[in-house]
């Protein structure tokens, strides 16, 4: 695999992996948010 192809493939995989993890994290935060008691951290 040429260095340019290697950078492209690694980059795209890395970006989607990073964004995918961010997506999962946001879904988790949403569940935590729903379970939060009213007024948690005093700003709701």
């Amino acid at each position: 695999m040429s260095p340019a192809v290697n950078v492209c493939v690694s980059g795209l995989v890395g970006v989607f992996a990073g964004i995918g993890l961010l997506y999962l994290m946001m879904k988790l935060l949403a569940r935590l948010g729903e379970k939060a008691p009213r007024g948690a951290f005093s700003a709701d």
């Binding site: 260095p3 340019a4 192809v5 290697n6 950078v7 492209c8 690694s10 980059g11 795209l12 890395g14 970006v15 989607f16 992996a17 990073g18 964004i19 995918g20 993890l21 961010l22 997506y23 994290m25 946001m26 879904k27 988790l28 935060l29 949403a30 935590l32 948010g33 729903e34 939060a36 948690a40 951290f41 700003a43 709701d44």
Partner: protein, 368 residues
């Protein structure tokens, strides 16, 4: 006659005059047309200063502008501080309310990699190609951050290209949007996202810092400062810091950033045939990134019943908030009841994060 020898006017070269014309054009665009004036005005004036003869402003170790550049940009201080201010400005609510839209910010990095590949095929080195490709993210500070480390000689051209295309989003993006979507698709009204709690907003910057930096450590300077600024905002306990980061500090670093970038654009550095290529390839990168976001949104509609207006995919390029505004305008043209601005802000913010991750990966693979 020593005084006569020191007259600047006798040392003016045609290249300098050409750079004055470019500087005046940028000043005109900033002042008369109000295209990205906060950046183009100091950049334009920096170019003017850097191309006046015998000033010594860019003399290594001595010149004022050289010091700005060296300690601000080359030492990676200013771009992360800009991100600190951006973080303090940013409300991640629109993204958190519709997490699926985050993928549109990833898709829009397609233009970055396609252009990287094209640029190296045209004979640019891998480091130069990465710097040119990142223009597709339409994120000025990230472009400058990457260029300063991989290809400092291209920094001025790439920064001006990135900021220019951000400013020109209302001209570049609509034809691509209309080409790749039908009137019916543009008229899709999206369902309102759920309400995001303050707890989610508070935890997001901490969790995102951990997730992204553990995956791409080289993105730490930008992501770290971005999320710190956002934590200032969302914690609601350091309002003074949040206000300083988003106003005073942001304004100060913007001045140094603009002047420093302009100062790198000496005639020797800028008046080269490959600069034309950089602007063309940068435009291609921006256009392809827009198209990739649109196409992924259309693909997502094939597998979901809760339809996405494909236009919001075009906001996956960073260009905050210009790209989101363009999406809103085109959506409203197709359906007057369409209010896409907040939906488009989600991919827009995801695009910022995606571009930083892409830059971090370039740095980890190509950086010294």
């Amino acid at each position: 006659m020593a005084f006569v020898e020191q007259l600047g006017i006798l040392s003016v070269t045609p290249g300098m005059v050409a750079m004055w014309a470019i500087a005046l054009t940028l000043l005109y665009l900033a002042i008369a047309k109000e295209h990205e004036p906060l950046l183009l005005l100091p950049i334009g004036f920096g170019i003017l200063l850097a191309n006046l003869p015998l000033t010594g402003l860019m003399t290594p170790e001595e010149g004022l502008l050289w010091r700005f550049y060296r300690y601000g940009v080359e030492w990676e201080v200013i771009p992360p501080l800009v991100f600190l201010g951006l973080g303090a400005h940013t409300d991640f609510g629109p993204l958190l309310s519709q997490p699926r839209l985050v993928f549109l910010g990833a898709a829009a990095q397609g233009g970055v990699y396609l252009t990287f590949f094209a640029a190296q095929a045209f004979g640019f080195s891998l480091e130069e190609a990465a710097t040119i490709g990142i223009i597709g993210g339409a994120d000025g500070p990230t472009t400058i951050f990457l260029a300063a480390q991989l290809a400092p000689h291209l920094l001025g051209a790439c920064a001006v290209a990135a900021y220019s295309y951000m400013a020109l989003a209302p001209i570049i993006q609509p034809p691509i949007m209309r080409l790749l979507t039908t009137e019916q698709e543009r008229a899709i009204r999206m369902k309102k996202g759920r309400k995001v709690t303050a707890r989610e907003k508070l935890l997001f910057p901490i969790a995102a810092t951990l997730v992204i930096i553990l995956l791409v450590p080289a993105s730490a300077p930008l992501i770290g400062m971005f999320m710190l600024g956002n934590l200032f905002r969302e914690s609601k306990v350091v309002e003074r810091l949040a206000e300083t980061a988003q106003d005073a500090l942001m304004n100060i670093v913007t001045i140094f950033l603009g002047v420093s970038v302009g100062a790198t654009m000496s005639a020797d550095n800028f008046l080269r045939s490959d600069v034309i290529f950089i602007f063309v390839l940068g435009l291609v990168a921006f256009a392809v990134s827009t198209a990739c976001g649109l196409v992924l949104a259309k693909l997502m509609n094939l597998v979901t019943s809760d339809k996405i207006n494909p236009l919001v995919g075009a906001a996956g390029v960073s260009a905050v908030p210009m790209a989101a505004r363009v999406v809103h305008k085109i959506g409203a043209e197709a359906n007057k009841k369409n209010y896409l601005l907040m939906f488009a802000m989600g991919p827009n913010l995801a695009g910022v994060i995606g571009t930083v991750i892409a830059a971090g990966i370039f740095l980890s693979m190509l950086g010294g």
